[in-house]
């Protein structure tokens, strides 16, 4: 187990290296450079020429040197750079905003699992009955309905029917826990919807597969109650792919948070991402993408390591 963990940790290094390379290549080599935009914005008024802007941004050295500088500063000093427009350190903005995204994501994740797993299990136990069809329809509904549309409806229709609109200012959890949770619950449900759907379907498929195994038939023939057969014999074996997927869903939640935070005007990292992309503040954007990717790499690592606890047959060598 320890050897496996160490090996996986070492494998994380090339992955993160490639992540940084992809981000750097996209930001620096895809046409439509920030220098053009800054020149167009500031050039005429302040009389700044191209060379000055390039020097200011550190773009006047060869590309591989730039990559080395960028990566070196992050690795050695934990310095993610300064915003191109405001010259503020990116890290400060991220520090101020991450709790919002974190809370939203965790809530969405918990709601997803609480709703999805029981429905998926029920659907499998009563395959091809009315309950199963309803469960599957809910799952497909969750997958098919795009989050941004649902969020729009949730904002527009209550406003028209009951003159209700969500609070515009962020309510801190420390000041008003109930208000804070009420503010986050609707966005979290909307954010969790698509994951809910796919998790329900996967739970159902896996459960069906396990329920046809020989050892389940044995459990039945021993005269065990349904609850025992399902909870003790079937569920644990069916759960492993579901855990993999739940880990993967955090990725989807991170993407979704960008949209949801914008619609519900929650001042989290997703909103920062859209603002920075719109203003082409590429240091902020690349820092955000890098941080998200690193977080996801570690989530995947934890997911892989969790198999050892769920499945006694898994032995890490």
């Amino acid at each position: 187990m320890r050897a496996y963990t160490i090996r996986r940790l070492i494998l994380v290094i090339p992955t993160i290296f490639f992540v940084s390379l992809i981000i750097f290549i996209v930001v620096r080599l895809v046409p439509g450079s920030v220098v053009d935009i800054m020149e167009a914005t500031y050039g005429q008024t302040a009389g700044i020429n191209r060379a000055t802007i390039e020097h200011m941004l550190g773009y006047d050295v060869p590309v591989y040197v730039q990559y080395g500088h960028w990566l070196g500063r992050i690795v050695l000093h934990g310095d993610l750079g300064n915003s191109l427009w405001s010259a503020q350190p990116v890290i400060n903005q991220i520090k101020a905003r991450w709790p919002v995204t974190f809370e939203l994501g965790i809530m969405a994740f918990i709601i997803t699992q609480i709703v999805a797993l029981p429905i998926g299990i029920y659907s499998a136990l009563r395959q091809d009955t009315l309950g199963d069809y309803i469960g599957r329809s809910i799952a497909i509904f969750c997958i098919a309905v795009p989050g941004f549309w649902l969020a729009t409806l949730v904002i527009v229709y209550p406003a028209i029917w009951w003159h209700y609109s969500p609070p515009l200012m962020l309510i801190q959890f420390g000041q008003n826990p109930i208000g804070n949770l009420r503010m986050f619950i609707v966005p979290a449900i909307v954010l969790g919807m698509s994951g809910m759907g796919s998790n329900m379907r996967l739970m159902r498929t896996m459960m069906l597969e396990v329920l046809r195994q020989d050892y389940i038939r044995t459990a039945w023939s021993k005269g065990l109650r349904e609850r025992v057969v399902v909870m003790r014999h079937a569920l644990k074996n069916a759960l492993i792919p579901v855990v993999t997927m739940a880990g993967g869903q955090l990725t989807i939640i991170v993407s979704g948070a960008v949209i949801i935070e914008n619609i519900f005007s929650l001042p989290g990292l997703g909103q920062l991402m859209t603002n920075a992309t719109n203003s082409r503040d590429y240091t902020v954007v690349s820092a955000l993408v890098l941080i998200t990717a690193v977080v996801i790499v570690f989530i995947n690592l934890l997911t892989d390591l969790s198999y050892g606890f769920l499945d006694p047959r898994v032995h890490y060598k």
Binding site: V19, F148, R212, T292
Partner: protein, 322 residues
């Protein structure tokens, strides 16, 4: 493996088998067939949009702006007085093009890279897989937003970027399929008989994973349609005034939705129905093509057909790409 031969027949004797497949689908998957019809209608609407739409997609009737459904404007008008029904009809074109072309690009890339990664193996495979690890850990939407903000939003940019980024991610699945069949006896014998790599790949490997490639394709179409809509919604997709369903819900229109809630309803409703239909259609195709999921009707599935699961069918982690 009897299941495998039935799969191959589907591909080889095209016509009569196709008809048979449709009949079987209607009998086994009535919902899937209904959804197939909806999908077909959606494609036809997109092709014949100018004939169906009562008005042009950007024809402005300024006096009738922000109206609800009426006999003149079936679904009402938007804040500029454009007929929502006509815009939705033309919007189907964008979704069909994105859904098909981006998925085609994506499937081609993942098939190509997946086969070579698995077939060549060694250091090439190792490095490519680390690269794909990295690609998969960057949330798709963020990198798409970033790239499109740089190259500028347009229909073809969205299609190409979506196709490439999704294609790289799906390589993993094709690779595992190829690894699954690579060590099979018939491949070994083909190599032993001196067949060149090209022939091994195109005559032996590709036909054997074709069913899964088709499944991957059908699963990706709704994903692409939704991605385009999300990107357009955020302003990084097809730029206005093009009637993208996602774009119709964003931008200036948002302020007027409180006055005319129909504007918020229709584009998303149509989008949801299409995504639902294409998903169910894809599911039906998967169930028909994937022998592993066949049979086992009723409570707890009486028949045990799972002894020798066919190698390399769609397994759980792939489903998350949905």
């Amino acid at each position: 493996m009897t299941e495998k031969t039935s799969e191959k027949i589907v591909g080889s004797k095209k016509h009569s088998q196709l008809v048979e497949l449709i009949i079987r689908m209607w009998k086994e998957k009535p919902l899937g067939t209904v959804c197939a019809v909806i999908t077909l209608m959606f494609v036809l609407v997109a092709i014949f949009a100018p004939l169906i739409a009562p008005y042009g997609m950007n024809a402005i009737h300024a006096k009738d702006a922000l109206e609800g459904p009426s006999t003149r404007f079936w679904l009402g008008t938007d804040n500029l007085g454009r007929d929502l029904f006509s815009r939705i009809i033309f919007g189907a074109r964008i979704s069909v093009i994105v859904g098909l072309v981006a998925t085609l690009i994506s499937t081609a890339i993942s098939t190509f890279l997946g086969i070579f990664s698995a077939y060549i193996g060694g250091t090439f495979d190792l490095i490519l897989q680390r690269f794909i690890d990295a690609e998969l850990s960057i949330p798709g939407l963020l990198i798409l937003m970033l790239i499109i903000s740089m190259i500028g939003p347009s229909l073809w940019h969205v299609i190409i970027v979506l196709g490439i980024s999704n294609g790289i991610g799906n390589t993993r699945m094709i690779r595992s399929l190829v690894i699954g069949v690579k060590e099979d006896m018939y491949i070994n014998s083909a190599v032993a008989l001196g067949a060149p790599s090209r022939e091994v790949i195109f005559r032996h490997i590709l036909p054997n994973i074709m069913a899964q490639i088709i499944i991957l394709f059908t699963m990706n179409v709704p994903f692409m349609i939704l991605s385009e809509a999300s990107l357009s919604f955020l302003g990084f997709g097809v730029p206005p005034p093009a009637p993208s369903w996602g774009g119709m819900l964003s931008g200036a229109a948002r302020q007027y939705m409180f006055m005319d809630p129909w504007m918020a309803l229709w584009p998303g409703l149509v989008l949801s129905i299409i995504v639902y239909a294409v998903n169910m259609f894809g599911d039906a195709i998967r169930d028909l093509l994937d022998p592993r999921l066949r049979g086992g009707l009723g409570r707890y599935g009486g028949k045990i057909k799972h002894k020798g699961a066919v190698k390399g069918t769609l397994t759980a982690p792939e489903e998350e790409r949905l």
